[in-house]
Amino acid sequence: MLWETVTLAFITITRNKLRTFLTVLGVVIGVAAVIAMVTIGQGSSAQVSASVASLGSNVLTIRSGTRAFGPPGGGESAPKFTLKDADALADLPQIAYVAPIVTGGQTVVFGNANASTQIYGTSADYLKVQNWPLALGRGFEGTEETAGAAVCVLGQTVRTKLFGTSDPIDETVRVKNVACQVIGVLAAKGAGSFGQDQDDIVLMPIKTVQRRLEGNKDVASISVALRKSATSAQGIKAVQAVMRDRRHIGLTQADNFNVTDMKELSSMLSGVNAVLTGMLSSVAAVSLLVGGIGIMNIMLVSVTERTREIGIRLAVGASSGQVLTQFLVEAIVLSLMGGVIGILVGLGLAYGASVFMAIPFAPSGAVVAMAFGFSALVGVVFGYFPARRAARLDPIEALRHQ
């Protein structure tokens, strides 16, 4: 009898395809949005975790000014760092590697090809701080660093733009007006926590960048890798002590630089990520609710339209329970249809987004099962009221209805 009822529901539903589609649309949108949000959220969480793991030993970044993010600032008085600051940090027992950094956007040219990219002037230890292996060639040598030699290491994106698949080692590229010999290529790293392309980069010795591109001796930031034996807290404390001393900050004065712990930053990012995912998912859940109300609305209309049909069914011996079941099953079938389509659309959207944002595609069986269960629940909850109304009709009134 139940199977009979389900078949009957399918027949009724397929008779009016446009109405069925419109009825189901609300649930489709709701479920698709929830599935897409959660799947994308999980993908980007996985991405953040992966980038935290790839940091290896703990890394601190020291910037001038008091702001941890955005452009350096927090008062014009905040002086820039110098290479001497970096040397002083290198002497600390907690610190394993030091990479002073100065960055600037430049266009790099090879033959007819050119690439706008980010030039990082830094030390050879940058690769160790970042835990970043080379794909080809070698990093800077000590003499190249001290002399400010015109050598560079390309990120994969820049390498592909300028050289395609051919070997770039020992070729000469032009950065602004500096002819620069390619000595190495970095391994591909993929997208960062913000979705930026981390491989769109060219490394050069910091002195080369200071003298020949920037024309000053400033250091924008310093990244240091802590020794395994040192905790973040110890490292931060030691760095602050040295920098306060070097920058002549009085006991009562605030720091005019800041130290960020990359691991902390990453875990904060995944926190933000979770909050965002949660928020977007609840917005999506509300639209699912609206979809449910849409189903209720259509079912109510359908009960009115089909009053006579209900009367006929009652006259030939249907119990009110059977009429209730019929309408309830119809509502559930509708919302499950919406649920299934929504799940497929949502996974499709999430897949597209994961390709576009270069994050892992992380569909979760639990979330899919939950969406399915929830759409069934929507059918039951919003189908019950119209179904009860149908079941309570008086057979005589219903038969007379025209």
């Binding site: 049909e309 009652l314 006259a315 030939v316 011996g317 119990s319 009110s320 329970g321 005589i396 038969l399």
Partner: protein, 232 residues
Amino acid sequence: MEPLIAFRDVARIYGSGEAEVRALDGVDLTINKGEFVAIMGPSGSGKSTSMNIIGCLDRPTSGKYLFQGTEVQDLDQDSRALLRRHYLGFVFQGFNLLARASALENVELPLIYKGIPKAERVARAKRALEKVGLAGRENHDPSQLSGGQQQRVAIARALAGDPMVILADEPTGNLDSHRGHEIMQLLQALNRDEGITIVMVTHEEDIAAYAQRLLVFTDGKLTRDEAVKGHS
């Protein structure tokens, strides 16, 4: 022999106070198994009201209704649905077929609620359609059938559930006289050959002439109860 249908002082009152309408007012009647009864009377005299009560679609306000000797006037919705399902078949003036279902599906409907499996249901529905002369029209929708044919489908539907009683409220009211007589011959045959009790409301003398017995209602009261001329 115990009567199939018995009313004991049945009243059906709509509204109350000033607006009170006594649709049925103290009706006593009995109908025996196998009878073919016609009900006549002026408009508003309570014919449909008594049919609805006999058909367990409605309940008397007071009095007793005995079906096969059992009082059924106080049964709830679902018990009355069971009575309809197992003992009663309806034929309406306006046919009342499901518009978006084929003739066969319409006839299958009561069998679905009887819980009869698909294959047997189709076989029985086909047989019922054959009996009313609609073999070969199983897959037609009601809109593809003439009025007379639609009423035959409705009779087949009433028949399919093997009822003891067929209740027909103005079954020929929407048909021309020729089709009306065809339907009456069909009902008469079912009464004669299958022993199905038939209770029918009509406004036309020549339609009532197919019955064996005539009940006349006036103002909610049963005012005449007699054998139809030409029948003994």
